[in-house]
Amino acid sequence: MIAIAAPFAAVAFTLIACAALVVWAGAPVGHAYVLLFEGAFGSRFAIAETLTRATPLILTGLAAAVAFRAHFYNIGAEGQLYLGALAAVAVGGGAISAPPALLFPLMIVAGAVAGGLFLLVPALAKTRLGVDEVVTTLLLNFISLLFVSMMLDGPMKDPLSMGWPQSVGIVPELTFGKLLERSRVHSGLVIAVVFAVLLWIVNARTTFGYEMRAVGANARAARFAGISVNTVMLKTALLSGALAGLAGVGEVAGRAGYLTLDMSPGYGYSGIVIAMLAGLNPLGVVLAAVFVAGIIVGADSMSRAIAVPTYLADVIVAVSLLSMLVATMLARYKVRWS
């Protein structure tokens, strides 16, 4: 019960708290929020935009949820996302000649593998050497971005881009198809939702899911029962990195078409907020991702109508994370005033 009430309470509190900012910006609060909601869900176009935004967020949310549940704090989804996108471009950019039926799954797998292997390094460092994964994954983000930047300015640069650092485009046969005409919603959304459902099934019904849940709940007891905690951690890390890599594949092969350095406005980090709002539940991640996407898209649309900066979206997302953390903590205690 608490698991369902807490995020709603957190969101409600967030909207009330951020109303203060709207007032400070000099706009009428009710009108602002109505515009926000309409911009996110108020028209076919709005919903399509929200779903397009939600696609990578679902995947980075799943990446965070999977890792956090095992107490492996993967802050590197952003870097894994970019490497996944880079791998997708490497396979799908036309450099390899092979039938599309073969290249399409290969492109997706390459993105997932790139993300997974990139997270394997911090995972091994943690299990073998006890190195804190928050530090390693966070710093690897910068390395990943710099590497991608180097590739985009060098070997993978699009010769037709007139000097701008961007990659060649994904070959048209390999791009994700549109789900809805005259919108940007692409079949990456289907992949994301399918993975959310798959992850839920794995958690609840498979032996590996049981191992992940046991290790996440109590690693000492799991070890006592004969579960190999380190192996489970490594497998979880691979899965988490792969999901983040897939987010990159979806963005580059579904939305953008080619890779640039500003492709992701922090999807990897937003994934963490989404995972927390969802209580680390894969199905909840889909809802939370749609919510956060709605805030971002709605704030964009709202800022064009009245003079409230789009940064309101970032603030709302950040405050909702803080409120969620406080809500889950308060749910465990009863406060008595003496």
Binding site: R205, T206, T207, F208, G209, Y210, E211, R213, A214, A217, N218, R220, A221, A222, R223, F224, A225, G226, I227, S228, S338
Partner: protein, 485 residues
């Protein structure tokens, strides 16, 4: 309700024993007295004045001192530092250590509790640490001293020394509340006995007008017959089931060599902290030994929990709530946690929930595990039922060896009797049982032979210890304390 309408009085210069089994509410009652908890209703008067609730400082100022079951000492500081903590106001720039030291020495002389003010707590024995705890209370001028299960961690000789100290304190006019569940001690040291049962005060007796049997029945509410150990049927000639040679592990375990035969309970006694935890971990496959080996029916066991489980070793860990079960997972999931990979519970990576739940149901029924349903989280069960689940899932497979580490710690009399009878039944079936326990009564009742751990070394195993001998061995004195090789 942990405490239900309890009314008590304590006279000056008397020792009042609070008797009750685990979970009866004794610790809760004194925690309210000392200010750790706030009572929902009722009042406390100390020396004629009402006591402000929920305030340990007020309790200390009123003259109440408490020696907790788990000592509240800073291991890295000296005795003097520990006693000074909290006694000086924060705003004073200089610490009056010299006066404090003099006052400490005077207090210790007055009550016959010798300590070295500069000794580090980490270097002191458990009995000495307890003395520091008592001095802490006396230094602050306590006139009422509460002792929460003080003898649980002491050797028999140290218990005698503690009782002598209590006599000195009483002669000086202090009043003592002595919490215990050990009937012998309660009868020997107290004047009156208050019996708590399920949160209620069920009886107040004069110590010299009651008996062990009456107190036991008052504590539990019914007669409990302790299981009796029959003499060992299978003797001698068959090879030992479990054989440990020259085992060293985790730094604290230096040398352990022993053998356990079929149908035998091998007891390991010793004050906590002498390497038993490391020995237990090594015997469960959790700790890789730095030297030596463990053999089961002749085969050496690899240092992996899975190897031990696969070889048929049943393990009951000391920490049942945090190591024995995964509290957040369901009871049925915990019931099969050691065998979740077996083909009957997992096929091609998919869990066979039906088979797992059936097995869990079997364990719960056979071992009388009280729970609110197989799907409830395991931490929702009481300590005794968690232990029964752990024991049940281990015993249901008729193991050939059982490693039980403090299996009845913190349990009520009924659960203790049940677990003992299960271990004895396993022994009758031919299992080799290693019983590590700090409770000498338990060891004497259950074990065929007992060895004593001291400073990481396991002594020779004997079947005929006297209390005095084993007490000396636990303190590292005497020839019985030396290792077998």
């Amino acid at each position: 309700m942990a405490n239900d309408a309890i009314t008590l009085d304590l006279a000056q210069g008397e020792v009042l024993a609070l008797l009750g089994e685990n979970g009866a509410g004794k610790s809760t009652l004194v925690s309210v007295l000392f200010g750790h908890y706030v009572a929902d209703s009722g009042s406390i008067q100390v020396f004629g004045r009402p006591l402000p609730p929920g305030n340990p400082k007020a309790a200390l100022a009123a003259g109440i001192g408490m020696v907790h079951q788990h000592f509240t000492l800073a291991d890295n500081l000296s005795v003097l530092d520990n006693i000074l903590i909290g006694t000086e106001p924060l705003w004073r720039p200089l610490s009056h250590r010299r006066e404090a030291r003099a006052r400490l020495l005077q207090t210790s002389r007055q009550f016959g509790l010798t300590v070295n003010p500069d000794a580090r707590i980490a270097d002191l024995s458990v009995g000495e640490r307890q003395r520091v705890e008592i001095l802490k209370a006396l230094y602050r001028g306590a006139r009422i001293l509460i002792l929460d299960e003080p003898t649980a961690v002491l050797t028999p000789q140290e218990v005698e020394a503690l009782f002598a100290t209590l006599k000195t304190l009483v002669a000086d006019g202090l009043s003592i509340i002595f919490i215990s569940h050990k009937l012998d001690e309660v009868l020997s040291v107290s004047r009156r006995v208050a019996v708590l049962r399920q949160g209620k005060l069920v009886a107040m007796r004069e110590a010299n007008a009651t008996s062990k049997a009456e107190l036991a029945e008052l504590m539990v509410g019914r007669r409990i017959d302790a299981p009796v150990r029959a003499p060992r049927e299978i003797e001698g000639s068959l090879a030992a089931r479990l054989s440990v040679t020259g085992l060293a592990a985790g730094g604290k375990l230096k040398h352990a060599t022993f053998e356990v035969g079929r149908g035998e309970i091998f007891g390991i006694a010793g004050v906590s902290g002498n390497g038993q935890a490391q020995l237990a971990d090594a015997l469960c496959g959790l700790l890789t030994p730095t030297s030596g080996e463990i053999r089961l029916d002749g085969r050496t066991l690899a240092a992996l929990p899975r190897a031990f489980i696969g070889a048929g070793v049943a393990r009951v860990p000391e920490d049942r709530g945090t190591v024995g079960i995964v509290g957040d997972l369901a009871i049925w999931e915990n019931a099969i946690s050691e065998h979740y990979r077996d083909p009957q519970f997992s096929r091609y990576g998919w869990r066979q929930r039906g088979a797992a739940k059936d097995q869990a149901k079997r364990i719960v029924e056979q071992f009388d595990v009280r729970c609110s349903g197989l799907d409830a989280p395991a931490r929702s069960m009481s300590g005794g039922n968690i232990q029964k689940l752990i024991l049940g899932r281990a015993l249901v497979r008729e193991p050939i060896a059982i490693i039980a580490n403090q299996p009845t710690w913190g349990l009520d009399v009924g659960a203790v009797a049940y677990i003992h009878s299960q271990l004895l039944a396993a022994r009758a079936r031919g299992a080799a049982v290693v019983l590590i326990s700090e409770d000498l009564d338990e060891l004497f009742a259950m074990a065929d032979r007992i060895a004593v751990m001291f400073h990481g070394t396991l002594s020779e195993a004997k079947a005929d210890w006297t209390i005095a001998e084993i007490g000396l061995a636990m303190a590292g004195i005497g020839e019985a304390a030396h290792a077998s090789s």
